[in-house]
């Protein structure tokens, strides 16, 4: 096996690895490509694509190594705990990332609208710059940027999507029960249901985006409402997509007989992540669609 316990049997220490440097090259290529593309320079798009491919290759190789090491029983309970702490704090960092965008939404709704309308100490803002602007929500600002539009509602697709995502949280838990009981059939079927629900969510979200963009005239350029709506739900949708891909990997591994009732951290990590995107959606549903 590739993993070698350098330091006696007590601790696990991995070999030198070439995956991280490949990951750095991938990130660098993606960043250069992205920047060139934004500035319409050179072959930006293709460089960006190349970078993303390198990152995918790196993840495939790196996770592959970890899976092989895990299957060969290299990881003891201590390594398992390290992974758990790692995943916990990774999810915490994601929470903070969304926190920044939620913060922007609250700030705009609670303060900026009020100030543009002359509230607090901003009387002259309203008297001189934005004459007679009244606070509203949804708002595209005193400049009516992007033109007239129709805001989102909590009924309709958003409600259905909430139902879908909450159900997927339930199915992934049932799959976990199956895994703990040693019932592989239950595990695989309920994982499959979860994945279907996940991709159904993404598809409906895509449909909703298209409707918003073309029928409701709600675009990224529709002032602060369009900005916060698309950035929050867009980043969330991206996370759901990543989560669904991770669940698919877990399903493939389950079908191949990986995981035991006692030892299945990869499954748990992905289900933690899935519950995290679920909770973020609840925040979105309440603050973006509903209130």
């Amino acid at each position: 096996m590739s993993a070698e316990a350098h330091a006696g049997s007590h601790y696990y220490l991995p070999h030198p690895s070439h995956w991280p440097i490949l990951g750095s090259v991938g990130l660098f290529t993606t960043a250069v490509g992205g920047a060139l593309w934004l500035e319409d320079m050179g072959f930006g798009k293709y460089v960006l694509l190349l970078g993303l491919i390198i990152i995918c290759v790196m993840m495939f190789g790196w996770f592959g190594t970890v899976i092989r090491e895990s299957l060969s029983g290299t990881y003891n309970a201590q390594v398992d705990r390290s992974f758990r702490w790692g995943m916990t704090f990774f999810i915490f960092s994601e929470v903070m990332f969304f926190g920044g965008f939620f913060g922007a939404l609250f700030f705009a709704r609670v303060f900026v609208e009020n100030w543009l309308a002359g509230g607090s100490n901003s009387l002259f803002t309203n008297l001189i710059i934005w004459k007679g602007y009244e606070p509203v929500w949804p708002s595209n600002g005193p400049g009516n940027l992007g033109g007239d539009f129709e805001g989102m509602t909590a009924t309709g697709l958003a409600a259905i999507n909430t139902l879908i995502l909450l159900s997927s949280g339930l199915t992934v838990t049932i799959a976990h029960w199956g895994l703990k009981e040693g019932n592989r059939k239950k595990l695989c079927w309920f994982l499959l249901f979860t994945i279907i629900l996940g991709f159904a969510f993404v598809a409906l979200q895509g449909h909703e985006f298209l409707d918003a963009w073309y029928k409701q005239h709600l675009t990224l350029g529709t002032g602060i409402y369009g900005s916060t709506f698309f950035m929050l739900t867009g980043f969330h949708g991206l996370h759901v997509t990543i989560g669904a891909i991770m669940l698919t990997v877990i399903l493939i591994r389950s079908l191949r007989g990986h995981f035991t009732p006692q030892h299945h951290f990869a499954f748990e990590a992905v289900s933690w992540y899935w519950h995290f995107v679920d909770v973020v959606w609840l925040g979105l549903f309440i603050f973006v669609y509903w209130l």
């Binding site: 934004l38 790196w62 543009l116 600002g141």
Partner: protein
């Protein structure tokens, strides 16, 4: 010597040459990479500062056009913060935390490698903007819109560089937390951890909490410029001040990310060279934790002049002044540790004592800046520059230098050249005050920061400042000389290189073996503070 089982050097089957450093998963290799990278960036950022001081030698424009001057101030800040100070602390964490908690390595060694190897790429990206059409972004390290959005080609490159640094920091933070929480030797409870480990546990938490927020802030700006969103555009219902709020929600904890590990280092050094246990260990832990908590609710003191509602000004003024309480606890504890100790003044201790004095000066000017009415006068003047250079240079950078001298014997197996190191210290500590102290007066007299020109009455003080700057810059070459000489040879260092030193790292031979602890060290080696043992 001691009874700790030591692993033999294990290079067999490992790549050699440059590939060893590129693929390494060893905490000492990665720590060394971090430290060398940070030293390199210290000189890159320092050379930008030298150019700034040359330009400010006399009134009027000498060397450069104002745009380039702005690029220098912006890149000086970014390079020093993200390239020099932060990687230096992460490097020290990598080297020392596994040894201090009795572990063989970091918890997630492969990710540790990735955390480091993202950084050189991020800085290639950042520094390459200097050579782009339109030059680098000259909007300060804070990158406020709308100015930053007018930077042209450089902007997306700089934003993506920030993203990469954020990814690196978050992974580094996760690794440090996992190591501290999971790899401590049996018997080392949280309240028996060395202060340096405690300070990094809390710093890592801050890193993970705020780096993603910075990523979000610069992403919003990218979207505003290239995809027509209106986060920072009032016409669309956004607000440029929103950026400042999001940025400083990151920025203020960031300030503590750069000083908390320094607190840990100073606690170690002061205790060792006073030959006394640290005074008030528990209060030190709670003080660091309180500072970290407060750092999340003080951010808007960086923006008192943007026209916030009065209630907000008052709230942020009071919370800011509250920070003086735990910080004061720490300063008093260091002084009390030295009180009636058997003090000796080797170079690490000199840096630590200088830290206690000079960081406190920076703390006092911080309290002045926290007062809203006073801040309205000091804001955007050289007084602010003086304040944060006292806390960052004579604070963070001095702590890093002290730490390097303190642990060099453990890393290299040799003692450094004490005479040369003392020259480095005295030249640095004198020149750094010549450099920064007059900036207080310049600021109080009204000289604005980030401006390449000034009225003639400021000439004398600016020339004193510049002389201090040049001498301080040149003195750092002695630092490099000390390090190189110590790596190449010198008096053999004992396992316990300092007779007053305690802690697990000193039970390992010098230089420390490639994998620190093969087996968990016996519980009797975990040093209990004498007054707790009874």
């Amino acid at each position: 010597m001691n009874t700790v089982a030591v692993v033999h050097e294990h290079y067999a089957g490992h790549p050699s040459g440059i590939w060893r450093w590129v693929t390494t998963t060893n905490h000492k290799d990665i720590g060394t990479l971090y430290l060398c990278f940070s030293l390199l960036m210290f000189f890159v950022g320092g050379s930008f500062a030298m150019l700034i001081r040359v330009e400010l030698w006399t009134p009027g424009m000498q060397l450069m056009d104002p745009e380039f001057f702005n690029e220098m101030t912006a890149l000086h800040g970014l390079v020093m913060i993200f390239g020099a100070i932060m990687p230096a602390f992460v490097g020290l964490a990598n080297w020392m935390i596994p040894m201090m908690v009795g572990a063989p390595d970091m918890a997630l060694p492969r990710m540790n490698n990735w955390s480091f190897w993202i950084l050189p790429f991020a800085f290639i990206l950042l520094l390459s903007t200097l050579f782009m059409p339109g030059g680098a972004a000259g909007a300060g390290w804070t990158m406020y819109p709308p100015l930053f959005m007018q930077s042209g080609v450089a902007m997306p490159f700089q934003v993506f560089a920030i993203h990469l640094m954020g990814i690196s920091s978050v992974m580094g933070g996760i690794n440090i937390i996992a190591t501290i929480l999971n790899l401590r030797a049996p018997g080392m409870s949280l309240m028996k951890m060395p202060m340096f480990v405690w300070s990094w546990l809390i710093t890592a938490y801050l890193l993970i909490a705020v780096m993603p927020v910075l990523a979000g802030a610069v992403t919003m700006m990218l979207m505003d410029k290239y995809f027509g969103t209106s986060f920072f555009n009032a016409a669309g219902g956004g607000d440029p001040v929103l950026y400042q709020h999001v940025f400083w929600f990151f920025g203020h904890p960031e300030v503590y990310i750069m000083i908390l590990p320094a607190f840990g280092i100073i606690s170690e050094i002061v205790s060792t060279f006073s030959r006394k246990p640290l005074f008030g260990y528990t209060s030190m832990v709670f003080a660091i934790a309180s500072i970290a908590f407060l750092s999340f609710i003080v951010w808007a003191h960086h923006m008192f002049t943007v026209g916030m509602p009065l209630a907000a000004d008052l709230f942020f003024m009071f919370t800011t002044m509250l920070i003086a309480v735990p910080t004061g606890v720490k300063v008093f504890n260091w002084v009390a540790t030295m009180w009636r100790g058997a003090l000796s003044f080797e170079t690490p201790m000199l840096f630590a004592v200088a830290f206690v004095f000079l960081f406190t000066i920076g703390g006092f000017s911080g309290v002045m800046l926290a007062l809203v009415p006073a801040d309205w006068q000091y804001h955007q003047t050289y007084f602010v520059v003086a304040h944060f250079h006292y806390v960052l240079v004579t604070g963070s950078a001095f702590a890093i230098m002290g730490a390097v001298y303190y642990w060099l014997p453990k890393w290299t197996g040799h003692m450094y050249n004490e005479t040369l190191a003392k020259w480095h210290f005295w030249l640095s500590v004198i020149s750094v005050n010549v450099l920064y102290f007059p900036m207080h007066f310049l600021g109080l007299a009204g000289m604005p920061r980030r401006i390449p020109d000034y009225p003639v009455q400021f000439t004398d003080l600016n020339q004193i400042v510049s002389v201090g700057g040049f001498v301080f810059g040149a003195s750092q070459l002695l630092f490099v000389a000390c390090i190189i000489l110590c790596v190449r040879g010198g008096k053999k260092a004992e396992a316990r290189a300092w007779d007053g030193a305690h802690g697990l790292e000193w039970t390992l031979p010098s230089p420390a073996p490639y994998h620190s602890f093969a087996e968990p060290p016996p519980a009797n080696l975990i040093w209990t503070r004498p007054y707790q043992a009874s």
